[in-house]
């Protein structure tokens, strides 16, 4: 796959990425909430398969917006305008023949604030498979168990699958949301600051879960917490005011970043 070498990506990383299978690629992606206000400017990024990629940057830098573009969640915002291309497995997801529901089935998402449906735990997990046409209860049961195991929640909830998901603790709810996303068997999981509303222990559990998932899924995670990015990601993208400043493998970015701006940010001179 040809890689568009942009200034944001360091030479070393490019060579590294050449060995990876690129799943998501954006070409000159720009996004405007209103005609005057752009949230993303000419973003070019390649996200490799079965790796954890973290987006960091100060508030309002567009990292969440970028993330939410990958499953076209931004479409829900009225008056939005998108330019450029987003290729997932080589296919522009804004092509008219792309079915939105199918895209979102393949690209799962976990939100910043846990948002379980006001239903039972089982029904929460089963929701994805059901809306995507699965109706055999046995199959769904299997998926539910598998997803909960993957999200490291099975042991805690297997006795009370029929109880309301809202009775779970905050951390459990977030892992339930991860399990819910996994139930669709997605290729990519987008995580939008999944641990920002959680206590340190729950955060730790989420990170463990992500660690276990990294071998099977492409994970893109937005985080506010640089330590978290450093701990869990293989690649890290640093963004500012809608621009991708630096995209590097995590180690390099946190130890000797290419850009001065990145260094200033990770050393805490602004943020």
């Amino acid at each position: 796959m040809a890689i568009n070498i942009s200034t944001a990506i360091s030479r070393e990383t490019v060579s590294e990425l050449l060995n990876e299978n690129i799943v998501i690629q954006t070409n000159n992606l720009s996004l405007y909430y209103t005609p005057e206000k752009s949230a993303l400017k000419n973003v070019n990024i390649q996200i490799p398969e079965k790796k954890v990629t973290a987006f960091i940057g100060p508030s309002g830098c567009g990292k969440s917006t970028l993330l939410r573009n990958f499953n076209r969640m931004n479409d829900l915002i009225p008056g939005i305008k998108i330019e450029g291309k987003i290729l997932i497995n080589g296919k522009n997801i804004y092509d008219p023949d792309v079915e939105l529901e199918d895209l979102r089935k393949r690209v799962g998402m976990v939100f910043q604030k846990s948002n379980p449906f006001p239903m039972s735990i089982w029904e929460n997990i089963a929701f994805g498979p059901k809306v995507n046409g699965l109706s055999n209860k046995k199959d769904i049961d299997e998926i539910v168990e598998e997803s909960l195991r993957q999200a490291d929640l099975w042991k805690e909830v297997k006795e009370r699958l029929n109880e309301s998901a809202l009775d779970l603790s905050g951390g459990q709810q977030q892992r339930l949301c991860i399990a819910r996303a996994l139930a669709n068997k997605p290729e990519i999981i987008l995580m939008d600051e999944p641990a920002s509303a959680l206590d340190p222990i729950s955060t730790g559990k989420i990170e463990e879960t992500i660690d276990e998932l990294r071998n099977n899924y492409t994970i893109v995670i937005v985080t506010h917490n640089m330590q978290q990015a450093a701990r869990i990601s293989d690649y890290t993208a640093f963004m500012m005011v809608g621009e991708l400043v630096e995209f590097n493998d995590t180690n390099t970015l946190f130890t000797h970043p290419d850009k001065k701006l990145t260094e200033e940010y990770i050393t805490g001179r602004f943020g």
């Binding site: 499953n71 969640m73 479409d75 829900l76 009225p78 008219p96 023949d97 529901e101 199918d102 895209l103 979102r104 089935k105 799962g108 998402m109 939100f111 604030k113 948002n115 379980p116 449906f117 006001p118 239903m119 929701f127 994805g128 059901k130 809306v131 995507n132 309301s164 809202l166 949301c177 819910r180 996303a181 669709n184």
Partner: protein
């Protein structure tokens, strides 16, 4: 120093300010709680008032002695007794032709009158001939018939009501011009005077011979009929003539009854005869209305019979009501001139107050220790006068304001006179005094729920789909127009909607019934067509429409379906329905199309209910957090799947409350159902005929209901029921809505 003072001043200012704030807080608290308690209190007060007005319906009848005295004329038998309409004056007719008027309050003799009897001439029998005034006829041992009227008219002297009693002799004639030697001893004697002034006499002599005599007032002609041949050898034990003088009923010792038609004065015909009881029929009389025959037997049975239409269009008497039995033979029956009450008296002087329609024996008591010779209701049926052979006169107050409203009568099927079977009937007022009010609330309750049903059928889908569209699909701009527009609909006075429905849409629908029926069908077809057309537009062009505006694309198709319906209906009607669908429906399907019908009401009432359901459910749909819908979308659910699986359950509590509030509104709505239904209290679910709702019934009838009368109280009972219904619906709505919210709306 000055600084210190300043500081102190400031502090005192602050404490003053605090105090003021506290005081205001207290005052506000009191006013607010007063308001809250006030609302609860006023609702309770309304409820209590409704109960207070309705409860007397359930009071049972009571008879209590009111005045008692002895006429001191023991040697003369009392033949008749009567009261004036104010129960101030009573009169007694003695065997010797003396008529005494007494004051009820102290028993003092007010006036003495005399029938023109010859020396030693005695009255054998006497009978009252009218229920509206005190006209009576006597037969003497000289075979003379005397008709007289005891008048007790009020005279207002210096604003004080004084009853002036007087006797008017109406006519004197002989029993029979042809032969009077036979008829010396009369055993049974009945007399009637109808509205045309014609007199009817029927009597049986000691040889068990039956005669009828009629006086035609206009032509002044007497007719005389001997029914000796018609009556077999069985002893006649009782007689009754209808008020209108059309029928004569003869009761026999064998328990059989003979029904003679005497409406043709030239010829008396036996219409029917049947066995009513195993024992002798000892007393019979027609209740007011000349239809129902009250009957008592020597075995103590008390029954009411009335003629029912048979298959071959004849009438046959049938036993409809049975009452509590007397322990001894029934000797007399006296009927009320007000309602379907009658008293039956037995040989051991026990008196029963019966109410025909409800089959109830309301009161049973021993009226006298001596043998009762005669009794009578007062003109208003609020008192009874009873005379015994010892010349004791008892006047009893009858407290029986609402005999016709038992629980059975209000909520069950009642067999009314003139009906072929027991039915639920609401018919509160009629044209004549003889009319019996029929107070079954079931047709009204049915009407209310029928109207509500059609209104909900129309409004719930419309309002819900509108709410879903506005909250989930419509672009903000469109939503901002639709929502307030629908909400403004709620501000339309229901009189206006009712007026439009009753005077504009009803005739319009009737005239263009075919079009109206076609529109819903065509709308569905055209909607599907529009979806098909939409899908065939290339994706790239479709994307240019903002999200939600795609539904606006349907609008032209709706217009087309209206035009199409108007265009096609004539052709369809001509070819399929013989040119007139109303006629066709009536002839082929047996459906009668009333102009003001439930269809129109459903439409109009639905129009009033839509804004309520729409607003509340739209609010609760919009309140479903975006995080849930986003999660659903992110899992690959389509917008419709998201609405059905996530948004609707989460908003279920609110939607349920909205529908229930709409239901409450529809049940209580008055003006629309009043103006657009025709108010016919029939029980038929057909959308093409009308109904009478409880609320409309109250509105229509309360102006003509006499205060504290039965209708008045029944209407209050209706109001109470309406209150109970809406109260129950709102409470259930609150309870279930709460539970649904607790279950699904935890966000």
């Amino acid at each position: 120093m000055s600084l210190f003072i300043e500081k102190e001043l400031k502090e005192s200012n602050i404490s003053k300010y605090r105090k003021k704030a506290l005081r205001n807080n207290k005052i506000a608290g009191i006013i607010i709680s007063l308001g809250g308690y006030g609302v609860v209190l006023s609702i309770t007060a309304i409820l209590l008032f409704l109960i207070y007005e309705a409860v007397p319906l359930s009071f049972s009848a009571a008879i209590e002695e009111f005045s008692f005295f002895n006429s001191k004329n023991k040697n003369e038998k009392i033949m008749l007794a009567g009261l004036d309409r104010y129960v101030e004056v009573e009169y007694l007719v003695f065997e010797n032709g003396i008529i005494n008027f007494y004051s009820v309050s102290d028993g003092s003799l007010l006036k003495v009158e005399k029938l023109p009897l010859k020396l030693n001439e005695k009255i054998l029998c006497a009978d009252k001939g009218s229920l509206s005034n005190e006209i009576f006829s006597v037969v003497t041992d000289s075979s003379r018939l005397i008709v007289a009227e005891a008048r007790m008219l009020p005279n207002y002297d210096r604003n004080k009501r004084v009853i002036v009693p007087e006797l008017k002799i109406k006519s004197i004639s002989n029993l029979s011009d042809e032969d009077d030697s036979k008829n010396r001893s009369i055993k049974l004697f009945k007399y009637s005077k109808n509205e045309d002034g014609n007199d009817f006499w029927a009597w049986v002599n000691d040889r068990n011979e039956l005669f009828v005599k009629i006086f035609e007032a206009e032509e002044e002609v007497f007719y005389f009929h001997s029914l000796i041949d018609q009556v077999r050898d069985v002893e006649i034990t009782s007689l009754a003539i209808t008020q209108n003088g059309e029928s004569l009923i003869v009761g026999e010792n064998s328990g059989e009854l003979l029904w003679f038609d005497i409406s043709d004065y030239n010829e008396v015909k036996l219409k029917d005869n049947w066995k009513a009881s195993a024992s002798a029929v000892s007393a019979i009389d027609f209740l007011i209305g000349d239809n129902a025959l009250a009957l008592g037997t020597t075995a103590g049975e008390v029954q009411v019979w009335f003629p029912i239409r048979t298959k071959n269009n004849n009438f046959k008497f049938q036993r409809i009501h049975r009452f509590k039995s007397h322990d001894s033979a029934v000797s007399e029956i006296f009927v009320s001139s007000r309602n379907r009450s009658f008293i039956s008296i037995d040989e051991s002087n026990v008196l029963q107050l019966n109410y025909s329609t409800t089959s109830e024996t309301q009161v049973k008591f021993t009226a006298s220790t001596n043998s009762i010779t005669t009794a009578s209701f007062s003109p208003k049926s609020d008192a009874l006068i009873i005379a015994d052979e010892q010349a004791n006169i008892g006047i009893f107050k009858v407290d029986n304001d609402h005999p016709e409203t038992t629980i059975d009568a209000l909520f069950g099927k009642m067999w009314y006179e003139g009906y072929d079977s027991p039915e639920f009937v609401w018919q509160s007022t009629g044209g004549t005094d003889e009319f019996e009010s029929k107070f079954s609330l079931i047709p009204l309750i049915f009407g209310t729920f029928k109207g509500t049903l059609y209104a909900m059928l129309f409004s719930v889908p419309l309002a819900l789909f509108a709410a879903i569209y506005v909250s989930q699909f419509a672009p903000k701009k469109v939503a901002r127009i639709i929502k307030p527009t629908i909400e403004i609909m709620a501000a339309l006075p229901s009189v206006v909607i009712g007026f439009l429905a009753g005077l504009y849409f009803s005739p319009l629908f009737q005239e263009h019934l075919m079009t109206v029926l076609l529109i819903p069908v065509l709308i569905i077809i055209m909607f599907l067509v529009s979806v098909f057309v939409w899908k065939s537009i290339p994706e790239i062009k479709r994307v240019k429409f903002a999200k939600g505006t795609d539904l606006l694309f349907v609008l032209p198709f709706l217009v087309i379906s209206f035009l199409l319906a108007a265009g096609v209906s004539n052709i369809l009607e001509l070819n399929l329905f013989d040119g007139n669908i109303n006629q066709w429906m009536y002839e082929v399907l047996g459906i009668n199309y009333d102009q003001r019908n439930s269809f129109v009401v459903g439409f109009a009432l639905g129009f009033a209910v839509v804004p309520i359901i729409f607003t509340i459910s739209e609010d609760s749909l919009s309140n479903v957090p975006q995080s849930l819908t986003s999660a659903s979308f992110a899992l690959g659910a389509s917008p419709w799947q998201t609405v059905v699986r996530i948004v609707l359950p989460a908003a279920a509590g609110g939607i349920f409350s909205a529908i229930m509030l709409g239901l409450g509104r529809a049940i209580g709505e008055t003006m629309i159902v009043l103006m657009a239904t025709g108010n016919t209290p029939i029980m038929d679910l057909s959308p093409f005929n009308g109904f009478r709702a409880m609320s409309a019934s109250i509105a229509v009838e309360i102006p003509e209901a006499p205060v504290d009368g039965t209708l008045y109280r029944v209407l209050f009972l209706t109001a109470l029921l309406l209150f109970a219904f809406t109260f129950a619906i709102n409470s259930v709505a609150a309870l279930i809505g709460d539970r649904l919210r607790k279950k699904y709306a935890r966000f």
